[in-house]
């Protein structure tokens, strides 16, 4: 078994940064193995991946020292595009990796890049679609497919190059747990058929099971601490009462109530109407039904969508609420009060958004997918933020696919499927009900399974 990728004392930094993103890093990947590189965001995982497929250092003028050998040859000796034929990549964002309208055109685009003759294209497209079981999607319009299907198409586009190495950049970050699991099983089958090398970066390995032969932690920090199960902060009074909320076309009448300080997770398959329900509750889209109170806080997946002013302080004060300084202090935003809200980190942006909502006097906060694409450290920060606010009497309704996160945090769970509410359940009742989980494309959290193991 020889090495297909080998890094020897590689250091890398971006031209406008002083710190080395990678420092004296060495590793090697053997042909046919399945390797995963883990670590929190910002530790250089993506940089490492981009060095493997030669997107870096050329595309960012980065400074590189040390030796990178690909297929036993110095990586700098490959001409532009050459290495991309042998090392294919699947990226994280299902929406930003396609150039053409249909699956067939997208596959053909890849073949044209390889200068494949026109007569051969038809066969190769047929072959790869058969290999990946995607023949039915040949003429589908990519933008209309689900996230899981898009990632499969992206993988097929990578495989049509007949690469020796497949690089995966957090391929399941945007998928619901059930879909992610299916994708991993599908990939497992493919690897056995094609015998290629797989190198992935991933910050959460929960769903991958024993897919990988070798795990390489990139940062020196210890295992990310498992989030503790929180103490509930439910108070007896009702904080929000929704009655027969519905939209004209999709959402069927939904009624539920939450208590003060309660943390509720809203879960269900991709496209089941979770985001629509949140928007209907805040009256961002036309809806029928009654809701009490009407003044709700809402934090979209990209918190920067909310920002209107030039400093964090103004942002929090925008709604005209009192006690801005107090709020900044409580949410640890004092240090960045004068910064531009677009220039701070993602976690801080969300903190600002929540501070602004609370300052407006919105005591119920609805959050849309705050966990997607977040690493362990960011999740733990989010966990703390929500936990503290809930103990202060804020009520949360959170959409997430991350069942580990939900397990640690949730008092209750609202399940949705196909635009209608299945119902509101106490969290524990959902984790133990396998039928209910499966119907809503969820997987039981590992926290629970460990708990059961220790009892057994």
């Amino acid at each position: 078994m020889h090495d297909v990728i080998s890094f020897e004392k590689v250091s890398f930094r971006y031209p406008d940064e002083e710190n080395w993103t990678l420092n004296d890093f060495s590793f090697a990947v053997q042909k046919g193995s399945r390797v995963v590189v883990t670590g929190p965001s910002g530790c250089g995982k993506t940089t490492l991946l981009y060095l493997c497929n030669r997107l870096y250092p050329d595309n960012c003028d980065g400074i590189l020292t040390g030796n990178i050998e690909l297929f036993g040859k110095d990586s700098r000796t490959f001409i532009a595009g050459e290495i991309n034929h042998r090392i294919a990549t699947v990226f994280q964002d299902p929406d930003a990796q396609f150039c053409m309208q249909t699956v067939e055109e997208e596959l053909a685009f890849t073949l044209e890049n390889l200068q494949v003759k026109r007569e051969e294209m038809e066969n190769r497209i047929k072959e790869v679609l058969a290999l990946t079981n995607l023949t039915d999607f040949r003429y589908s319009i990519i933008q209309q497919l689900s996230g899981g299907q898009k990632q499969q198409i992206a993988t097929a586009c990578a495989l049509i190059m007949e690469p020796e190495i497949l690089l995966l950049d957090e391929p399941i970050a945007h998928l619901d747990p059930y879909t992610a699991k299916r994708y991993i099983e599908w990939l497992d089958q493919l690897q056995q058929n094609r015998q290629m090398t797989i190198v992935a970066i991933e910050h959460r390995l929960d769903l991958w099971g024993d897919f990988f032969d070798r795990i390489i932690p990139l940062s020196e920090s210890d295992e990310p601490s498992i989030l503790p199960k929180r103490m509930t902060s439910i108070k007896p009074e009702i904080s929000i009462q929704a009655t027969k909320i519905e939209t004209k076309t999709f959402l069927k009448p939904a009624s539920f109530s939450l208590q003060r300080g309660e943390i509720t997770i809203l879960a269900g398959p991709n496209g089941s109407g979770k985001s629509t329900l949140l928007k209907a509750l805040c009256h961002l889209i036309p809806r029928n039904g009654l809701i009490e109170p009407t003044f709700l806080g809402y934090v979209p997946q990209s918190p920067e969508f909310l920002f209107l002013t030039k400093t964090v302080q103004d942002e929090v004060a925008y709604g005209g609420g009192y006690g801005v300084d107090n709020m900044l202090q409580r949410l640890k935003l004092m240090d960045i009060a004068a910064s531009h809200p677009f220039s701070i980190s993602h976690g801080q942006k969300r903190r600002v958004a929540i501070a602004a909502m609370l300052c407006d006097g919105r005591e119920v906060i609805l959050m849309d997918e705050p966990t997607s694409g977040q690493d362990a450290a960011a999740l733990s920060e989010l966990y703390q933020l929500i936990d503290e606010r809930a103990h202060d009497g804020t009520t949360f309704l959170i959409v997430t696919h991350d069942m580990e996160f939900a397990y640690c945090l949730a008092d209750s769970i609202i399940l949705m499927e196909d635009g209608s509410l299945t119902g509101k359940f106490p969290a524990l009742a959902v984790w133990e009900n396998e039928k209910l989980l499966l119907e809503h494309h969820l997987l039981p959290p590992k926290g629970l399974m460990q708990c059961e193991k220790s009892f057994a």
Binding site: A96, F109, L306, F342
Partner: protein, 251 residues
Amino acid sequence: MRSLLHRMNPSVKFVLITVCMFTMAFFFDPVTPLLFWAGVLLMQILFSQTDWKKWLFFMIPFFIMAFGYFWTTLVFAKETVGPIIWSIRSVHVTELQLHHALSLSFRVLAFSSLSLLFALTTNPVTFILSLMQQLKLSPKIAYGILVGFQFLPVIKDEFIQIQQAQRLRGIVQKKNTLQRLLDTRLVLIPLLAGAVRKAERSAFAMEARGFTGERRGGFFHEILVDKVDAFLGVLFLFVLVLSCTNSFWLG
């Protein structure tokens, strides 16, 4: 028959239309553009499946513009010598003035309906592919534009999402159109910030698929030049020549 203009090779159509426009620019009488306009319409009626309601809607501004040209040329003409053929109150119109005015407005109509003929019968994706295959447009630019097309629906969704989120913060949609236009500035900043990130990700994805921007050996989806193009090409030129030589056969 009714699909011929849609089936025509977009590059050929584009070149023909450009040639027609340049030629028409050298004729200053009213009859030539009028005849040419009629010819273009006739071709569009015979060989395309145009949605005429849509056509009329797009033509409204051009009709207004044509009338504006007509009226201002009549009223503010520089030379007002010659026999007066028409008087409305204090405005006296000479033959030469009317001549100029009609020429200008027919020209506007001819040019605009020619452009509409192109726009309404051409698929933008096919047009770009054809520019790359027939007119040797660089793949770097061509695929850049194609990826841009894929982004349009995503950008539209995000625009709505940002507007919704900002409304929650207390931004009220103003009644005044100008103020509303100024307010879109607030939506544009987060929108563009997101678009820049997306664009970079797409560029990386393309490069990772082996895209280098070099000319390609073969195309899967070939845009061909065939008999239809020859037929319509001849027809276009025939209409052009016929309208340009009207002084001979109309006397």
